[in-house]
Point group: C2
Chain length 370, copies 2
């Protein structure tokens, strides 16, 4: 037998891409570990010690299936936000929820609007539906609300993506600007507002919670400020009917029992969260100072990373990145035109930022030299 | 605003069903816990103590993202099966992989063949693609290989599902029968062979590993014999090109770091697996004896549950089930015509089977009485 069963047309047309190469893959390729892990916007400060204790205590319970309703966690999220559990759906990180949302609102050839250089995994999941991406350039290193709105109207798009605070630039809009954008959208367009970094920026950037609007869904994660990237846990909240539509296609047993319990405890330890937020703020200042010391320009950040303008073109910034990698410092960089002059450095532990401070001058010199 | 953004036609046509109501939801409805958890085919014997230790040791590492390549686990699975890591894809349980497989091979209105009363979550994921289910009745409490083959050929189906050993009946085919079935399939039809219970039945039921065939994908799980249902971890193996096609749509960061590490250690502790297999065998005999003692007929089982013929119709078996639930004994039952005369009892701990033995006579009497 030599023939393959035919793939469905949508899948047959797709490349076998991986949205992000992980640091572990890079370490395998390099043949050794990084000394500073500053590239994946993780929280080096870890999860709350109470979360760790809980995970250790329940490890032996993992023979039991997870609760497919995510009941306790949805209740905890709802209490945290002051909404009903019916307004909350839980998934395997925001990534998993974005994949479902794309399938819910996008069919073959439907236009989907996002910013050029914004979250690649959203684009990946749109491609998986056969949808057609329409990208809008950033303006002054922010996602362009006017540009996104114009594209949505021109294309009659069923779905538009906006992250606030933004990745990879670390920029943000204040809540009143976001609200104006939301209110200007056609009612036939669903907005996914990705607030993965929501806990790490100014509170003024987060619109008041309103779960009455049928064309807005907001997503948050335990991967960033809560320090649980490895457990795969995120949630979305919005209008009840919209939330219940996830039931039609989600993997009901997708979120592990470990993740569900970890999430409940993580939400209950807000003092830990505030401690992390303070440490992240201090780390951003340290990275900014290191950038300044090296003649680079740190951009303002509402996230757990600082995007640094290297003041030349993308090739130059790419050389700095490569040189840092070769010096065992894992960072990433924006790739889209206009943004690619930058490198992106996650807040890490003090000793990791010491290594950054030691290695950055040499990396810049090497980038200038070849 | 009152309008909803329109759902994609496929999703709009779906009901918001949950394939399985979990025992936790039943406990919330009842207002109290079950005394015996014998309904979800979990492994009450738990995971290997070495797995538990490992999970406890790495709980604090969960701030790091998981490896999107699942590199170490795929290598471990490959070594376990004697194949290449390129022949292995990992997912959030078999459920997650079935969802991807349906999207890979099924488009709107495409016919998909399965057995009437077989795994509902497969059906759920097929519905999510807009595919059309074609069901074949069981024959003598086994999935009908001849019937499935005839339906595949009649419908020119791109995808057919077969579980071996089977759920919910516990029955199985020997490997040579499975091989004959595989070889008879049109090369345009993909067979998904669900071997979730593969470690628990006779070795003679598992075909030799052959990853050269482009129209066969086999799936296994850590949820059953390995005792890790709550961690969400399964894998599929098959021909390299077929496996790489999963890359096009899978949630690359879907399987947690905890699950990946647990899986590696679980595979390394085969003595624990053999101990569990022995305990399951003893538990099956105990359940069979309890059934006999009560005038019911236990069916032969190659799984970690025993399906018990209650010797009347589905209504009667349903009453026994309800009565057991009211006596704090969680079990489930097949629902399809012809199979619904049965109840399905998972192997549990000795004290849970004691409770079953105590409560079953009363449950049968109650079912007869009303």
């Amino acid at each position: 037998m030599s023939k393959y069963p035919p793939l469905s047309p949508i899948v047959a047309a797709l490349p076998a891409t991986v949205p992000f190469v992980g640091p572990e893959a890079q370490e395998r390729d390099r043949g050794g570990p990084f000394r500073a892990r500053l590239g994946a916007n993780e929280s080096s400060f870890g999860p709350s010690p109470r979360v760790v204790e809980r995970m250790q205590a329940i490890a032996g319970d993992m023979w039991m299936y997870c609760d497919p309703d995510n009941h306790d966690l949805r209740l905890a999220v709802a209490a945290h936000l002051g909404i009903s559990a019916d307004n909350v759906v839980v998934g395997e990180g925001i990534d998993g929820l974005l994949g479902l949302l794309a399938r819910m609102y996008v069919g073959p050839n439907d236009p989907v609007v996002t910013s050029l250089g914004a979250y690649p995994t959203f684009n990946f999941h749109v491609a998986g539906t056969g949808g057609r991406l329409v990208t809008v350039p950033y303006e002054n290193d922010r996602e362009s609300l006017d540009g996104l709105l114009a594209a949505v109207k021109r294309e009659n798009a069923p779905l538009v993506y906006l992250s606030n605070p933004d990745n990879p630039m670390g920029s943000w809009w204040e809540a009143d600007e976001i609200n104006r954008f939301v209110e200007s959208l056609p009612e036939t367009t669903m907005l996914v507002l990705d607030e993965a970094y929501g806990e790490l920026g100014p509170a003024s950037a987060l619109p008041a919670i309103d779960v009455a609007r049928p064309n807005l869904i907001r997503m948050r994660t335990f991967s960033k400020a809560y320090g649980l990237a490895g457990i795969r846990l995120g949630y979305a909240f919005g209008e009840k009917q919209v939330i219940s539509d996830f039931e039609k296609i989600r993997n009901h047993y997708g979120v592990s029992r470990m993740a569900q319990e970890a999430g409940v405890v993580a939400l209950s330890d807000q003092p830990w969260l505030q401690e992390v937020v303070s440490k992240v703020e201090a780390g951003r200042q340290r990275i900014a100072a290191i950038a300044h010391d090296n003649g680079l320009i740190p951009l303002p950040s509402a996230t757990n990373f600082v995007t640094v303008d290297c003041r030349r073109d993308g090739t130059f910034a790419g050389k700095i990145l490569q040189s840092l990698l070769s010096r065992d410092v894992f960072i990433r960089k924006p790739m889209a035109a206009g943004l690619d002059r930058c490198i992106r450095i996650s807040v890490g532990l003090d000793h990791e930022l010491d290594i950054l401070a030691e290695e950055l001058p040499g990396a810049i010199a090497a980038a200038k030299g070849n």
